[in-house]
Symmetry: C2
Subunit: 405 residues, 2 copies
């Protein structure tokens, strides 16, 4: 029995599904780049969300966490350039005003508006810019998913979008998404800021369950620098405009297909975030097998995923397997060094815990690719895990040295 | 009541205490730098040790762990340039042969020899060089602590040595030490490779207890990059040659003074390791107070200590307190953002969780110093913790990109 191939990622955006309009533009938070995105559905959509696990949470996270509880939303407003985090009660007032401005501009109830912010921590939002900018964007809503994806970027080098199409009950269903993020990326949270839309019809409780699971298999398995943000948010809106039958629980026909499509799209967006990792030149898949448990596999994988020494060696295209073993050894996972095998770019450089010097050159050659895998087999059991990281380069330091100035 | 001032750190080395001789030189493991150190005491000394907590442990760690159990040692042999880690059964044979070569050269029992290695992981030791090098060094033992400190370095820019003098029972007691380490530095282990000697007379069981406590207050509170090594070892040898009364338990007169002197010397050596952190230009003290518990203070402190974003901002002399709050927030410690205060270089940049923009310039000026503190008060309780880290610079990446080649 082979697992079904994951659905193909197509070009597309949050406006690819039926019933979704968007706009993106410049309202003046950043000096000259696009900084405000608005996404609206035709009528209230089923809504789900995952947020940062950081205990320091930005004002928009606190607001949206409360707003999404009812499981319905009709609009998402997102600004970049300012995270509205660590801004105290005034920041909370500003986040609520963004909700109100959006509700008023669209003529919808305020409890159907979600809000997110990303950018510098600790600065107040320039509300006068948003008071002018939100109504202007609302007037220009249309099939402008690309403009919205552009407007949520911060240190990103490129917008991250994609779409997936499946069939449910004979109806064509589309999922579209956008994400931002290049630094402060780490597992164990809905890392990054992302929005996925679909014209599938899904009950909110199921939608939340499916999103949580998809995030665990995608955004929760990437790391750029081990730091986690105060603002991480992913929203999922389902308009039902495809005409496909309503999905109510995960055993229904179509639910598995929808789950796989959602996970594939999230994985694509998450890998795009890693590919755009600050200063990164490579995407590295970390695959751990043979662990005593899945938990051990995750521990070992995350230790490799976040090791500055492993990531730096990847940038230098150096098959420094000693650093990989050192990371696994400190991870807390059960390890018997004599049973460990490591393959880099498909080349087995460690067998039985001992290096194969004669294969280092072949491994170094494999590391010249823009994407390669580090596969670690612990030889102890059946636990496994996979995740994605990028290399650590001098450019990462350059980018983050003078972020505020 | 004020705490007694910590004892002053004096110039000195492992040969400053009476009854200790050393030698260091080049035996050919590295192409052209000093790579072999030998330290011997006049008669068997009380011996204690702490080792890496990494589950992948180098052969010399496995050997010395067994050797030190009897609580006595008369010689320590250390090579740099090759870690003898991940070398399988052959590596274990090589580590034992280093012990035998040293015992034979000095004419002492093999169970009184400790061994340590540091350098590249996964390569076999060139034993023919050691077979010639160890007897040569043994013939040249003398007051050569500086040469020994030089011989244990790898990517270090400078040797790390120091001494402390106290009085126990009317006798002058000296402690001297050396350490190496610039990368793969992280808390939760006897991080680095270090040797401390003293002419105090201390029962081995007490010596082990005192060393463990001193390491917890020094080497276990520093981080360069969050990676932990397969080889970390610290040895402590007490010759008793000072003529001071034997210390048997921690309540005896002199034991507290010895403990404080040992901790001060270890803290000095640990800070020297941080100061020499790969690519580092600054030593940053992280002090957490007001935590709900000491454990929470440690969690919050270690999160700041290892945050690439905080460390990069320190290199750029940017008072990016948002990143400090984000690190504390993800640490797992109880945090109420509204109660957090942060001072950078003595300048309070956050009060009640909100940034003081008017003080950022003063904080940035304070960050120009080669050493400064980041003090975080969580405002919740009395838990506190202090540790030391360095800034993350482009040079760190340069150094680690092509380590093998």
């Amino acid at each position: 029995m082979t697992a079904p191939a994951p659905p193909a990622i197509l070009p597309g955006t949050v406006t690819s599904p039926r019933g979704v309009r968007a706009a993106g533009g410049h309202c003046g938070i950043k000096p000259d780049r696009s900084d405000l995105a608005l996404v609206a559905t035709d009528g209230a959509a089923a809504a789900a969300a995952c947020f940062t696990t950081n205990r320091v949470q930005a004002a928009p996270v606190l607001v949206s966490r409360q707003q999404v509880r009812c499981g319905r939303a009709q609009a998402v407003v997102i600004n970049s350039g300012n995270a509205n985090a660590c801004t105290g009660p005034a920041g909370l007032r500003d986040a609520w005003e963004m909700v109100d401005l959006t509700a008023r501009a669209l003529g919808i109830p305020r409890d159907l508006v979600l809000v997110a912010s990303t950018g510098v921590i600790g600065a107040s939002l320039p509300m006068e810019r948003l008071r002018a900018g939100i109504p202007a964007l609302a007037a220009g809503l249309g099939p402008h998913g690309e403009a919205a994806a552009e407007a949520i970027l911060t240190t990103d080098a490129f917008p991250k979008t994609g779409a997936v199409q499946i069939e449910i009950g004979g109806a064509a269903v589309t999922l579209g998404g956008m994400a931002k993020g290049a630094g402060m990326i780490h597992p164990r949270m809905a890392t990054t800021l992302a929005l996925v839309t679909t014209d599938a019809a899904v009950e909110p409780v199921l939608l939340q369950h499916l999103l949580r699971e998809a995030v665990d298999r995608s955004f929760n398995r990437i790391s750029v620098d081990g730091d986690t943000s105060t603002n991480d948010t992913i929203f999922l809106l389902a308009t039902g405009a495809s005409g496909a039958p309503l999905l109510r629980d995960s055993h229904e026909p179509g639910a598995v297909e929808f789950q796989e499509a959602l996970a594939a799209l999230c994985r694509h967006l998450a890998r795009e975030v890693v590919r755009d990792g600050e200063g990164a030149t490579k995407v590295i898949e970390i695959a751990v097998t043979g662990a005593a448990s899945d938990g051990d596999a995750r521990r070992a994988g995350e230790a490799i995923l976040t090791s500055p020494l492993v990531k730096t060696a990847c940038g230098g295209m150096e098959p420094n397997w000693g650093r990989i073993l050192a990371a696994v050894g400190r991870s807390g996972a059960a390890v018997d060094p004599a049973r460990v095998a490591v393959a880099i770019g498909g080349v087995r450089v460690v067998e039985g815990g001992i290096g194969r010097r004669d294969r280092l050159e072949a491994a170094a050659a494999a590391m010249r690719a823009a994407e390669f895998a580090i596969a670690v087999d612990l030889g102890l059991g059946t636990g496994n895990w996979v995740g994605w990281t990028c290399d650590l380069t001098e450019a990462y330091v350059r980018i983050n040295r003078g972020y505020l100035t």
